[in-house]
Each structure stands twice: as structure tokens, then as C-alpha cells.
């Protein structure tokens, strides 16, 4: 159980010990909090002493009387908000004039409790301020983490977008100055590399759009009863040209129709990503096995390949954005590094998950589980 430090600032010893008694065995818990909060009390009889304590240790909540022998409670409050301490203040005062109330809340007090108060009144007030403190800290934390993730994402993204531009520009510059020769054939490699980089950039942009739509939640989801088996056949069909180029054969255990409530575009993205990985990271002449299976409440899509596989260490990094497994074997394979993080997010949308098993030089198998009824609003429910 977490302990919050509560500083009680009041010149009347009776009030201080009263608060002590009331809060001694009291704890606050909410369903959204991981653990209950208890209170550890520190006392100060003057405002000066209170500031001294705040300066010397972190305090979470302050119960602050306004009428004090030296400086007033409101002065202490002013000091705290000027220094921007991460603390919530509740004023305790016997004559809570409207003026003072307005002033105190303007400076940053959370609320007021009039004196004298009953134990229950204090407990209710403590519940309120604890919840407020918790939510405020959590929000700040999430905000900070979100900003950092965003920032990193953008800096890596700009790198990924600039690299192909630099490469193509470099090749064009050489061609412009005819540095290698006068015939177009002299530049064949540079031209095909440029086209390759452009393709990679297109993939990256398409993946980014998928990801943005997912993240913003703005994309209108069209949830209806869909046949996974049908979508799988379509996805295999569209990956076939790439597979033929690499001499990879795709086997699908053309089973029964397999229904779930979902958005067909989303499920297509999952399949496209899994299949293109299975082909891309396969060996020349390799195989891809696709299984689609439904149980009572879920569907499982399994895509196995006989490709280059990866180490356990690589598997751990797999779902991070822009992480591409870089080694000699993957050197000439292009990709945005976003595909699997998109698959992961989509699986989350369906309250499902993504499992991977892999062995270097043997192959990789991805299993995506989707719940059949993860999204139930505006849907035709499966019987």
C-alpha cells in the first residue's frame, strides 16, 4: 500500500491530533488505482515551519489553516504555487469568507474544508483530494511518455524518408553530370536502385497512413460479419506476383468459411503484412503455409514460412516501430519497419494478440488471434 505524506498546518494542537486520529486507519482506494493509499502525517504549527518542511522533503497533500500566528496560510499557498511543487492543498478555516475562498483557489488550492468538521467530512474531503492528486500525476506521466514516443517516432521517420531521397538525388546528380559515361546503359544500376528506393518510400507512406488512421481512430470502421477465408484468398492472390518472382509457393488449407465481426480492410492489412513478410524473408524456392481456424469465440490466422528466420533477441524487437532486423541476410530486403507494429495494433483492436516463433535458417511462424466479437456496436452479431 502506498503512503502519501500529509502535512497538517494548524496552530491548534487539538485540531492536529484530531486529524491524526481520523486519518490513522483510513485509506483511499478507487477501482482505477492499482493500490490503496494510506496517509502518513507530519505536523507544523506555523506557516514558517510548514515551508521549512516542504523545502526539506516531498509532501503530497497539505491541510492548511489560514489563520496562523506568523505568516498566513494563504502566504504559504502562494509560496507553494510560485515554486510549482507537486502537491495538493486543502484549506482548513473557520471563517471561510468568499473572498478568501476565491483567492485560495485562484492561487491553486484544491478545495476548502470548514472548521469544525466531522470525521466523515474530513474523510470525504481526503478521498476527493487523493483522487485528484492521483489523476493529475498519472495524466502528467502519460503526457510525458506520449510526447517522448511521438518525438522519437518523428525523428526516426524523418530519417527513413530522407535516406531514399538522398540516394536518388545522389544518383541523379551523377547522371546529370554524366560522370560514368554517355550511354543510358552506363546508369542501369543507378536507375534500378532509384526505382527500388522509390518503391520503398511508397510502402513507407502507405504504412504510415495505415498507422495514422489506426492511431487517430478517425477512420470509420465498418464492422460487419466477414468471411476470413475469403479475405485470405484475396490477400494471397494479391501477393502472388511477388511470390512468383521469388519462386515461393503459398499453400492455403482452403478450409471452411470462417466468420468474425470485423472490418474487412483491417483484416486485409493484417494478412497483407504477414504474407508479404513470409515471402520477402523467405528463401528462393521456399514455401508459405497459411492456416485460418475459428473456435467458439476467436479466429486464428497462422502464416508459416521456410525463410531465414531470426534469433530470440531479434524476436523481442520485432514489434517496435521502424525496427527492422538488420543482418547480412536481410540486407537487400526493403521494408518500412512499420508492418508488424501495425499488425500488433490491429490485433489489439480485436482484443487479440500476435505470437511469433522462429528459428534462424529454418523459418518463422506468426499466429494472430482475433476475438470474433471484440467490437459489438452497430454490428450484426454472430449467432
Amino acid at each position: 500500500m502506498e503512503k502519501l505524506k500529509v502535512l497538517v498546518v494548524d496552530d491548534e494542537p487539538g485540531i492536529r491530533s484530531g486529524i491524526h486520529r481520523i486519518l490513522r486507519n483510513f485509506s483511499v482506494g478507487y477501482p482505477f488505482m492499482e493500490e490503496d493509499f494510506q496517509f502518513e502525517l507530519i505536523e507544523a504549527e506555523t506557516g514558517e515551519k510548514a515551508i521549512e518542511i516542504i523545502e526539506s522533503m516531498p509532501v503530497d497533500i497539505i491541510l492548511l489553516d489560514n489563520k496562523l500566528p506568523g505568516i498566513n496560510g494563504i502566504d504559504v499557498l502562494e509560496y507553494i504555487s510560485k515554486k510549482q511543487y507537486d502537491v495538493q492543498v486543502m484549506m482548513i478555516t473557520s471563517y471561510a469568507s468568499l473572498d478568501l475562498a476565491v483567492k485560495a483557489t485562484n492561487i491553486g488550492a484544491y478545495n476548502f474544508i470548514p472548521k469544525p468538521f466531522t470525521p466523515d467530512e474530513l474523510k470525504v474531503a481526503m478521498e476527493g483530494i487523493t483522487k485528484h492528486l492521483f489523476l493529475k500525476r498519472m495524466t502528467r506521466q502519460l503526457h510525458k511518455e506520449g510526447k517522448e514516443v511521438r518525438f522519437q517516432f518523428l525523428s526516426v521517420l524523418s530519417h527513413e524518408l530522407k535516406s531514399p531521397i538522398n540516394a536518388i538525388e545522389g544518383y541523379l546528380q551523377i547522371m546529370k553530370e554524366k560522370q560514368v559515361g554517355d550511354k543510358i546503359d552506363d546508369y542501369e544500376v543507378m536507375i534500378s536502385r532509384s526505382i527500388e528506393r522509390l518503391k520503398g518510400m511508397r510502402t513507407l507512406i502507405m504504412d504510415l497512413l495505415d498507422l495514422t488512421r489506426l492511431e487517430s481512430g478517425k477512420k470509420q470502421r465498418e464492422i460487419k460479419k466477414i468471411d476470413l477465408s475469403e479475405i485470405t484468398k484475396m490477400a494471397i492472390h494479391s501477393i502472388e506476383p511477388m511470390a512468383i518472382q521469388k519462386n515461393v509457393r503459398i499453400y492455403y488449407d482452403n478450409g471452411e468459411p470462417c466468420y468474425l465481426n470485423g472490418d474487412s480492410a483491417e483484416v486485409e492489412i493484417i494478412l497483407n503484412n504477414l504474407l508479404s513478410n513470409a515471402v520477402k524473408y523467405n528463401k528462393e524456392g521456399g514455401q508459405v503455409y497459411v492456416h485460418v481456424k475459428g473456435t467458439d469465440d476467436r479466429v486464428i490466422i497462422k502464416v508459416e514460412d521456410t525463410g531465414i528466420g531470426m534469433t530470440e533477441e531479434d524476436q523481442e524487437k520485432l514489434f517496435q516501430e521502424f525496427v527492422r532486423i538488420k543482418n547480412v541476410k536481410t540486407k537487400n530486403i526493403t521494408g518500412s519497419g512499420l508492418g508488424l507494429s501495425i499488425v500488433k495494433r490491429l490485433a489489439d483492436l480485436y482484443a487479440g494478440d500476435v505470437q511469433v516463433t522462429s528459428k534462424p535458417d529454418v523459418g518463422t511462424s506468426f499466429a494472430v488471434t482475433l476475438m470474433k466479437n471484440a467490437e459489438t456496436t452497430d454490428t450484426i452479431l454472430l449467432q
Binding site: 530519417h159 535516406s163 545522389g170
Partner: protein, 128 residues
């Protein structure tokens, strides 16, 4: 004797472009396409100048490489080349003493590097 330039870059096109131009300037090149391979090479041979890409297996591969490189060859100049954009804040210049202390590179170039600019900078670093 022809000066040797080590180039480490994991982007195949960037690597071949750098190689093309540096050889065009009249230098000999040795190339590697990963931080790991780069580390192996510097253990075996001493080039006259090194060009490292920044983001390879690690986001700061170039820094790590140049740190290790300067430990063995403190007098050989190092250029870090990167497509990371300054605006994102991930860039570390060589402006302050503190940065110079741990980055250990002599020059920081943002890609696309113009060949003539690269030529000038290499000549300056090699005092040619």
C-alpha cells in the same frame, strides 16, 4: 601513396555513392555496411580517414564507432554523416566542448552531402 578512406554506412545506396565519389577524388576506399563490420575492420587496419553513418544497427552507431575508432587512432580524422534532421533534436553538433568530448568526431555532415563539399572537407582534414 594513395590515402585510404574507411566508409561505414548501412544504406547500400549511400555507401555506394560515398564510395563512388571518394574514389573519384583519388582515394582508395574500404567499406563496411554495419557498425559490427566497421568495428572488425578498425581492429585490423588503420585508414587515413573514416566516414561513419550515424544510424545503423543502433541509433547512435556512428558515435559508438567514432568513439572506439578514436581510442585506437586518436589522430585519424572522422566524419559523421547522417540523414537525421537537426530539427528533431536528435542531432548532436560539435559545437560545445562537452559534445566534442564524447562524440570524438572531427566533422558532422548532414546528408545529401554535395560531392564538392565532401571533397573540400576531406582535403582540409587530411591537410592536402
Amino acid at each position: 601513396m594513395t590515402k585510404k578512406v574507411l566508409i561505414v554506412d548501412d544504406d547500400p545506396d549511400s555507401l555506394s555513392l560515398l564510395k563512388f565519389h571518394v574514389e573519384g577524388f583519388g582515394f582508395e576506399t574500404i567499406t563496411a555496411d554495419s557498425q559490427k563490420e566497421g568495428e572488425e575492420i578498425i581492429r585490423q587496419m588503420k585508414p587515413d580517414l573514416a566516414i561513419f553513418d550515424l544510424m545503423m544497427e543502433n541509433k547512435d552507431s556512428g558515435f559508438i564507432l567514432s568513439y572506439k575508432f578514436k581510442k585506437i587512432y586518436p589522430d585519424v580524422p572522422v566524419i559523421i554523416a547522417t540523414a537525421v534532421t537537426a530539427e528533431t533534436g536528435m542531432i548532436f553538433g560539435l559545437d560545445t566542448e562537452e559534445e566534442k568530448n564524447w562524440i570524438k568526431a572531427d566533422l558532422y555532415l548532414e546528408k545529401g552531402i554535395r560531392p564538392d563539399q565532401l571533397h573540400r572537407e576531406i582535403n582540409k582534414l587530411l591537410q592536402l
